[in-house]
């Protein structure tokens, strides 16, 4: 016979197991039927990763959370438009990225600094980034970039959009997107090296060789 405490533990375990085993299809089905528990589970599953996406675009954590909130509301209200043609996570991510871009446009945070030429004078101190795990360090380094630079860099290098798509999204010229990305990449490299996350490559070596040497 199980004691009451054991039974409680067992039920808790079953609950956790049920949630863990809830398939993506079941989640989508639940969300399509406006089931709060499925929506909660979907949010729990994807929100940390999506907030990380928002965090890279946002100026601060509060803005990132606002973006996340707006993005997930769109996810839940537009889930009937998901057509099972790709990864569900990718679909969520696209909504979140678009929400971030719209957020930046809406509050003019993007336009104000998209053409910053003085970004080259960005001062980076070693102590500004705590020595946490490398992923966090890299993200913090990206966030140090001016908004315009980091937006293009995020969209091109991480999300995989083409310069044409980026130009359409940000309503800028394609050439502007290319030049922004080149500058952003150079600046980020410099920051990563200064932070000793990457080693400074020899003159004749490319940075990728330096990476391999790590």
């Amino acid at each position: 016979m199980l004691s009451a405490a054991e039974l409680k533990k067992y039920c808790l375990f079953l609950g956790v197991l049920q949630k863990t085993l809830m398939t993506e299809e079941a989640l989508i089905y639940g969300c399509l039927h406006n089931d709060p528990s499925a929506q909660r589970e979907l949010y729990n599953r994807y929100s940390p990763k999506m907030l990380s996406v928002c965090y890279r675009y946002a100026q601060n954590r509060e803005d990132a959370e606002d973006m996340l909130q707006e993005g997930f509301i769109k996810v839940f209200t537009q889930i009937n438009t998901f057509q099972n043609k790709g990864a569900f996570e990718g679909w969520i991510r696209r909504i979140i990225v678009h929400t971030c871009i719209n957020f930046l446009k809406k509050y003019k945070k993007f336009n104000e600094s998209v053409d910053l030429d003085h970004a080259g004078y960005l001062q980076v101190k070693e102590e500004t980034i705590p020595s946490l795990m490398q992923a966090k360090q890299v993200v913090e380094c990206i966030r140090l970039l001016p908004v315009g630079y980091k937006t293009v860099l995020n969209l091109y290098a991480i999300e995989g959009y083409s310069h044409k798509e980026i130009a359409d999204m940000l309503e800028i010229e394609e050439s502007t997107s290319r030049s922004q990305y080149t500058r952003a990449k150079a600046m980020l490299e410099a920051i990563l090296i200064k932070k000793k996350i990457l080693e400074k490559p020899e003159t004749e070596l490319t940075w990728s060789v330096a990476l391999k040497n790590r």
Binding site: N34, P36, Q39, R40, Y43, S47, P48, K49, L51, S52, C54, Y55, R56, R61, A64, E65, L68, Q69, F72, I73, K74, F76, T77, Q78, T81, M133, Q134, A135, K136, V138, V139, I142, Y156, A157, I158, G160, Y161, S162, E165, K185, E189, W207, S208, L211
Partner: protein, 470 residues
């Protein structure tokens, strides 16, 4: 998306790093999302609060009456103080020192009663009762209530003994004997009187009635069984009032229900907007007229009911346009109609007025917080079952783009709650009052299938007068 094969090492490196990164959101984010998706939980806070307050006040007033025993003792003390001021000053201190238990203890009370009787015996003048008129009185004491104390002229001595032998006056509620042209004799002086009476004479012990006791005319050594208060027309009052108000509405857009309804308009960003963001509305003047009857449950509480007429209205800023078909989604149903009023654009601006005529029966409670002379400060709450008639509302279509006739899905019956506070002043026979009132429509204006829930609100200044009905 570009082909990932075009990624160079730097991009691979960045992707690898950031994909490991996680940031955990604050708890309130989920709450906000949930609230946005499922709407505000329709917890009828105002209604619940009002019902709870009213129920508690009524129960408190009707059930938790002052302890009868304590009341009896208080009356005894007051009466004693009246009849014997010299003595009253001394035991007053003692009374305050006594605990509640002592004051309601049967034995203590009996002892006190006997002591009081003895004191009276010593103090009272025998001459008071030795007059022929008193001597002619007939004394009858109900056996059942005074433990078989019957006194007749030839058994005065026995009666005296019996009365002296009463050990528990608390257990002997005084059955009030009707005076028959007899002089009322104070019970406590009975012994004295009885001892001096002629054996041939009958006397009647005439004990004080309940009303006299309440007035404190008589010293009451023992528990009095007070009659239950009967319906008293002195407690009734009539009230008339008028409340000019500013009427408005609150919309709760159940977006999920609207979007998931059988009719879902073509994909457009406005479909995902909240109705509150796309409507433009202004409050308009409304009015409330009513009369009521109040029944005072106590000095503080008055139960009120009556009949009330309301006009409540608000204005919607819209546009004239050509007639266009539009759809009202109602969950699994929907109906099509045409409308010449646009919410978002049209040829010329127009103001639409949603106007309701209502009759209701408010039932509520009034509580007097402060009373200073002729002025008092009260609060009141009421529930108002309401019938709505002559209704021609303009209803927002499911795509939020048009206003159409919504009379077919409008509720006929609703429930309103009102809360008010006011200052009142007594001027002659009338008590005039003025104060702010808030009135809230608890159920949505339209039936529950319509996803945009509308709740009407009135903020008004209530002016009225109350007159006692004698």
């Amino acid at each position: 998306m570009r082909n990932p094969l075009y990624n160079d090492d730097f991009e691979h490196y960045l992707q690898k790093q950031v994909n490991q990164h996680r940031v955990y959101p604050s708890d309130h984010i989920w709450r906000n999302i949930q609230q946005e998706i499922h709407g505000y939980r329709r917890w009828p806070a105002l209604t619940f609060t009002a019902i709870t307050i009213i129920s508690l006040l009524v129960a408190g007033t009707l059930l938790i009456k002052p302890e009868t025993k304590l009341k009896t003792i208080e009356e005894y003390t007051i009466a004693k103080a009246k009849t014997n001021p010299a003595q009253a000053s001394k035991p007053a201190e003692q009374n305050y020192e006594e605990s509640i238990e002592d004051r309601v203890s049967t034995n203590k009370l009996t002892e006190k009663t006997i002591a009081a009787v003895k004191t009276k015996l010593l103090n009272n003048s025998i001459a008071t009762l030795s007059t022929p008129q008193v001597a002619a009185n007939k004394m009858v004491v109900d056996d059942a209530h005074l433990n078989a104390v019957t006194v007749q002229s030839n058994k005065v001595a026995d009666a005296k003994d019996k009365i002296a032998g009463i050990t528990n006056l608390n257990a002997a509620p005084l059955d009030l004997l009707t005076p028959k042209n007899n002089r009322t004799v104070d019970f406590s002086v009975f012994n004295s009187a009885a001892s001096k009476l002629d054996n041939k004479q009958d006397i009647q012990l005439n004990l004080p009635d309940g009303h006299s006791l309440l007035k404190g005319d008589y010293p009451v050594p023992g528990k009095i069984k007070l009659n239950k208060p009967k319906f008293n027309s002195d407690r009734l009052s009539f009230q008339f009032y008028i409340t000019p108000s500013s009427s408005f509405r609150k919309l709760v857009d159940d977006k999920a229900a609207r979007i998931n309804s059988s009719y879902f308009p073509s994909n457009s960003s406005i479909n995902f907007a909240d109705a509150n963001q796309v409507v433009r509305q202004k409050p308009a003047m409304g009015i409330e007229l009513g009369f009521g009857v109040g029944y005072s449950l106590s000095d503080k509480f008055t139960l009120k009911t009556g009949l009330q007429f309301n006009i409540r209205q608000y204005n919607i800023e819209a546009y004239n346009r050509n007639y266009e078909p539009t759809t009202i989604g109602l969950g699994s149903d929907s109906y099509n109609t045409i409308s010449s009023y646009g919410n978002l654009g049209g040829s010329s601006p127009v103001t639409l007025r949603n106007k309701n005529y209502e009759i209701s029966i408010p039932v509520g409670l009034d509580y007097k917080i402060l009373n200073a002379g002729n002025v008092s400060w009260n609060v009141a709450a009421a529930l108002q079952p309401t019938y709505i008639f002559d209704k021609e509302p303009f209803l927002l279509s499911s795509d939020l783009k048009s206003y159409a006739d919504g009379s077919s899905i409008m509720r006929k019956w609703n429930l309103n709650t009102s809360l008010e506070t006011y200052l009142s002043i007594q001027a002659g026979d009338y008590r005039w009052q003025i104060g702010p009132q808030f009135r809230y429509q608890n159920l949505p204006t339209y039936n529950s299938k319509y996803p945009i829930k509308e709740h009407l609100l009135d903020y008004g200044i209530k002016i009225g007068f109350t007159r006692r009905i004698n």
